[in-house]
Symmetry: D2
Subunit: 275 residues, 4 copies
Amino acid sequence: MEKLIITAAICGAEVTKEHNPNVPYTIEEIAREAYAAYNAGASIIHLHVRYDDGTPTQNKERFREAIEAIKTKCPDVIIQPSTGGAVGMTSGERLQPIYLNPEMASLDCGTLNFGGDEIFVNTENMIIEFALKMNEVGVKPELEVFDKGMIDTALRLHKKGYIKTPMHFNFVMGVTGGISGEIRDFLFLKESIPEDSTFTATGIGRYEFSVATMAILAGGHVRVGFEDNVYISKGVLARSNGELVEKVVRIARELGREVATPQEARKILGLEVKS
Amino acid sequence: MEKLIITAAICGAEVTKEHNPNVPYTIEEIAREAYAAYNAGASIIHLHVRYDDGTPTQNKERFREAIEAIKTKCPDVIIQPSTGGAVGMTSGERLQPIYLNPEMASLDCGTLNFGGDEIFVNTENMIIEFALKMNEVGVKPELEVFDKGMIDTALRLHKKGYIKTPMHFNFVMGVTGGISGEIRDFLFLKESIPEDSTFTATGIGRYEFSVATMAILAGGHVRVGFEDNVYISKGVLARSNGELVEKVVRIARELGREVATPQEARKILGLEVKS
Amino acid sequence: MEKLIITAAICGAEVTKEHNPNVPYTIEEIAREAYAAYNAGASIIHLHVRYDDGTPTQNKERFREAIEAIKTKCPDVIIQPSTGGAVGMTSGERLQPIYLNPEMASLDCGTLNFGGDEIFVNTENMIIEFALKMNEVGVKPELEVFDKGMIDTALRLHKKGYIKTPMHFNFVMGVTGGISGEIRDFLFLKESIPEDSTFTATGIGRYEFSVATMAILAGGHVRVGFEDNVYISKGVLARSNGELVEKVVRIARELGREVATPQEARKILGLEVKS
Amino acid sequence: MEKLIITAAICGAEVTKEHNPNVPYTIEEIAREAYAAYNAGASIIHLHVRYDDGTPTQNKERFREAIEAIKTKCPDVIIQPSTGGAVGMTSGERLQPIYLNPEMASLDCGTLNFGGDEIFVNTENMIIEFALKMNEVGVKPELEVFDKGMIDTALRLHKKGYIKTPMHFNFVMGVTGGISGEIRDFLFLKESIPEDSTFTATGIGRYEFSVATMAILAGGHVRVGFEDNVYISKGVLARSNGELVEKVVRIARELGREVATPQEARKILGLEVKS
Ligand SMILES: [Mg+2]
Ligand SMILES: [Mg+2]
Ligand SMILES: [Zn+2]
Ligand SMILES: [Zn+2]
Ligand SMILES: [Zn+2]
Ligand SMILES: [Zn+2]
């Protein structure tokens, strides 16, 4: 089995200090959390940025600052900016960080409810636009899928030439409006992607460690972090993203799965080393 | 195994006479197609209405006329108006036909892409509103799900008391943006609903008869019709909705599954006889 | 999708004229049934032989006579002798027909209960012996599996070099002691074999046509015949193996799957034309 | 989720001191290993016995001695004698330990290959005999299944009245000749048993901890021990059965699953307290 790539989704756009005071907003806090995750074993930082008051933004300069601060502390870590943005943003706003020459970026593969009146909008035309622009600037997309139909969409857009192989998926499981995070959901998604693909699995909330464990067992990769879950165990807030990563590392060790360094992760994902 | 309930989705909101000249627009055409389907073995007519030029509408009076015309020709058939409407309509517009005292109505359980720039919008709050209003007027919802996450949504809203049991689902498979229509997709959805539920399966386009056949084998029910597919076999346009239903009846007969009358369908679905 | 290969298992070793008077025992009856199946659309005859009183045998001369009689009536049909034999026979007895230069032969991939005190014995060493001898004489094995573990066995023996690729499986479903014949069983077996394999599915008793239909839908191939089931529909005895094959052909036609000729079947299975 | 019942299969009939010098043969060694497992968190001891030279036996007196020695050290542990015995033993020999008034005993639900020339024989009639005798003496059977078809057999025998509900299964996965121990195998078996059943999962060899982890995640129970696997991690021999149990406990703790005491296990399994 390949070594395990751990992605830390250290801040997200929706979780706040009210959920967990350790959620990072400032550049300094973001760098601190990235460093803790990296030290614990994360090789990828999935990155959103915020203004100091916690407001999410896709501002290119803010991303640049955050990336520089992270790179200063952990120069070899892979940084994967989000292109998800926040509700109401245009494609153009959302795409800004891909022009900072990152190695990867997330690419959401469909539209779904996010509870209440909220819709996370990613029309087919937007997906195509995002894919084409990432191809253009040489950024590998992490295909975020929240349900099975989004895998079908990705495969269709691959057939039309918009998305290149080998594809790398992220199964985001347990979001309100998306597929839940049970074993059978996980297995169904895993068996829906092409053999030459790689995948990361992300369990939201109480699904975080069960989904992570299934991914470890199945030869996939794992994402954890405050974006997805703020608890280290039932009712106990995590002290840092590092603590969440440490737990994944312990489970991986029990199950005989070694953890990948950033360089090993690059190799597994087919990323070129960027300067 | 229960007898097989066949639903005919005779017109839909998006398919046109350009796809198949037999697609009904006028009240007379709609009644003709309903009658053909009913004669062939359909016990439920899933109904959209249009103005004579083919423009889809959720207008209550137009629904009333269509229902009366159908009832004249096939008095005991179950009529299930759609509440899907067309892109851009408000909840209020979409809900109109439930106030005509139908026995059932469709209730879409999530938001998803419909290709290009189109989104079929059914936010969580809309789903709740639709469910509550159907409960109020005593209309049984057919829970339309286009992906697994929509089943999870329906189950969650059931737990919160918005959707009553026994639930009746419609797996709509093969829509752009939704789950595809392979055997494994079908089985996964089927195994995701509660034991005491019933379900109908709808395969879009080339999936129509394969999905129908799986539903026949699995003890589920079947929807076919011009809304979903206009071909009787590869490249051959169907002459009527009746011809599509006849094909389902032939397959059911080969597989030893008897076809339900409208009265038998009412019993299976737990519908009260309406006056 | 490939064309559909239909195998007719015309007599078997355990079914008798008491089950259905049309079960063939004599050479003449066997040729008659093979011909009826072939005319209806079968391209492979799965063959057991009996003495005129119905006693099953693996006697080489009896097989030779039966094969000649069949070939006289349908010269191009593929003949696949069974090596299953009857309870208590030695490997040597069971293997006799492979020395008649057939194109295929069945190879049972494990040991299981057959109800009561009966065990169908195929130890791992026997499986290896059968595989090696078939390789030696150039006979393609049809790997009969009665449960998932038998697929795992076949794959293990393939890795050790005993069984060649591309493998051709036969999922025999619904035997007492083996896996049942539900949709989920079928799908699980289908998803357990390598991508470059082919498979035939065989439903025993009441599973015959449901399993056949799933195989048609899934791109697999179908076996029917008196060995597996003697009814054309619930409680109605089939008049001939031909009638069973005709029913499969009708279902295939409804589902848009064309039926393979023997020459097309050879191509699909990678059989060389024998003289 | 229920608390986790851990069964320790401390010796088995086939593993020897050559595989791991800590495999127990003598009564004293057996009691030592049971005690270590119990201290680590096991609530059930799955028991085989041997003569001092390691020869397996189903001798009633030898079982009595072993049980007494274990009970002295851990009075409240549940003891589950095996009725599997060794190749060539009669039903009568194999059934001896059920007459010692244990709370449970294993009951193998089918016949399968054990590699080479070996067959593990449990004909349908033997399964019925074992079930009836266990019912008679009030011993709850743990239904050992090595493949899906054995679940189907157990369900059939339940319908005929031989096996009582709620049934408790043991999925033994990864035996040569049986189903392998992949995630999909596990999920398939789990989804094949009735809702009101309980199950334990046993992964053989390298599958031990991955199968255990899936069972922990899925709300099932776990068996580990020298009978199934002698390594604590790749290439490293376990020092005791206790060490294997400890590892399961650590994984369960990471995943938020509490470990059952013997009394809690009795309640979960519906065992009466025996005197
Ligand atoms: Mg969706
Ligand atoms: Mg078996
Ligand atoms: Zn994100
Ligand atoms: Zn509709
Ligand atoms: Zn045969
Ligand atoms: Zn044992």
